[in-house]
Amino acid sequence: MSKKADPKKVRYEVQWERFGYAMISPSMIFLILVATLPLVSLLIMSFFRIDLTYPLDNGWVGFENYLEMAKDERFWYSIKLTAIYTISTVFLQVAVGLALAMAFFRGFRGQGVMRVSVLLPMILAPVVVGLAWRTLILTPEYGILDYVSILLGFGSKPWLVAPTWAMISVIIIHTWQWTPFAFLVFLASLNAMPQEPLEAALLDTRSAWQRFRYIILPMLQPAIIIVVIFRTMIALRAFAAIFSATGGGPGTATEILNLYAYRVSFNSLDLGYGAALGTVLLLITVGISLFFFRMRRSSTG
């Protein structure tokens, strides 16, 4: 019972433990190199002034970068845009994903082809998606969407060039690309659902909407929360599609916090302030995720 009683077993256990460490150490080292170290250096950098455009004054500045943010209008505007972007894309992905999942769950002719085409956007690189939308779909007069809009009598729209329209466009682009994720999760959980309550409900005289609202939706709640958590985290750090579609413009109309941090670091070459902005984005993402995870625990527990 006690370890001392069997020295052989102790050695065996130690060996086993060592073997375990040996097995995970390559991936641990890799993770430390590519994830932990950059993160730590980001945190450290955020307390320095590292301004390549005027290197003489560079050095430790404590919280100055963070205090600077409080007065930085462009920062607050980017926070507002990040909130609008995240809330609307996540909401749309859940709503559209759910609708699609319901449609496919009930089954219809030709759903195999449809299912593949619904999933396609997700496998494209976001940069490609941004460029494709910018050139093929939203170009004035020649883009597909603009062309359809003209055909339908709505006229040509300033998709990427008027501030509000540009925001709407990047929200549509993100939703178009990532709804398949929500769709997949919802379809899988619909298929995994116990069929009895559903069948019982079918015998009921309730309307389809009521069956959806009071039976399916509550049963899907855990899946919805998972989708919301994942998609929120991704939407908060969206970058490539907006970068290639609008570059954060026109003006600063689609410059969410992530793009602002990029522009400060790599266009203005103010690496310290850029790192502080990145840190704030990280804190926001972690904070929101913790909140959701707690919510999930309380709802499942």
Partner: protein, 467 residues
Amino acid sequence: MVKITRREFLGQSAKVGGLVLASGVAPAFIKNAFSEDKHAAYLKANINWRQVEGETIKVLVTPAHYFNKFRAISPQFEDLSGVKVDFDIIPPREMREKAVLDFGARSGNYASHTADPMYLSLYEANKWVDPLDNYLNNPKLTDKSWFDLDDIIPLWRAADSVKGKLYGMPAEGEATIHVYNRELYEQKGLKPPKTLAEFKETAKELHKIDGKIAGAAIRGFRGAGQNMYIWPSLFLAWGGKWFDADGNPLVNSEAGVKSLEYYCELLQNYGPAGVENWNWPEIMEAFAGQSIAQFIDSNSTASIIENPKKSKMAGKTGYQRWPVGPSGRRCTSIWNWTMPINAVLPKKKKVATWLYIQWLASRPTQFSSAVYKETPDAVVRTGVNRISIWSDPEYRKVINFTPDYADVVLTSMREDTDSDWRPRVPQWPKIGEVMAVAIQAALVKQKTPREALDEANAAIAKIMKRG
């Protein structure tokens, strides 16, 4: 007239094509004969080209046609010097980031790159690059009379100098000029505008004359090298100055507000749909496809516009210098791709890099690369760095798009600007960013021109004070 020009042009191309064939595809003995012949021009220089034989250098370049040509003929340099030159080819924005990161980390990956002259103040402030006079004045490294630095376009050298010292060698450049559809002008009985006010009038006259065509376009895209590449010309044409005597910014002066109003009115009323996202390639293609009547942008667009395979506007286009602004001044851009030497390189690599830069910027290379056909339908270089080549009848024949094209460009480059047409300070990357956002915010009516410039001015004041 035009026909003869084109025939001459084709003749020239055929000659060059023959050369390429000889140096690229022909058997080795012909190739060798040619390469010796090629070296003759370089062996006139009284330096030892092979002094650091065996070195390898890496150069970061953009994928533009002129660097495709330089890359294509660089084996001749390798043959001459025994130095191997490797290239990384990346689009301008990413290239700039990569270069700055390489400098910042002092890793010395890139011996040189196609630098933006506006960044040289920043490079100098960080001591990232070597002043070139050390190389130019060393008789072991440079044969001054052979290289003839003074022949290189003076304004480019001025733009590439910081505190009186040259930090980058101009390899290729351009000026912005007014490019217009001659047929439409004739149809409407218009004369090429002499002033910017007249320019706007012609845009108004031509706008939607066939129901579709837009009156005029200039760069609308946000960026220090996009809208902040074209608006400065307007700002200066209105008599604007970037800073007062005490170094306070003046972009929200009357000149600033009036010129930005002009910019916005021109594009909002007579610009093509979506011009807010247009950079020069979009502008050039729209003009070549006859969906805009005229534009002001780089003279290098001509080599595409005048190519009948790529453009509907070949032989129907007029070129002239910038129209004059209200202050009586006309102001073109000043742009060149400049080659600096990374300060952290070991000495031998520095020498190798200098030899390459000297070779690239020399008269023989500039001339042979200008007409080099790296692909069968390659275009001519319209940005050679030497006055003597611009005045050379051989070269003029090749760029004889219109009888006065060469003079329009050369005069623009010599007379219509000065090296401070944009603020050349280490803080330029920040200032360029602030201005680019301000200009576009006004263009898309997020803010009025005055509001946008007031904010930009305050931001620039803060940037300069902080520095």
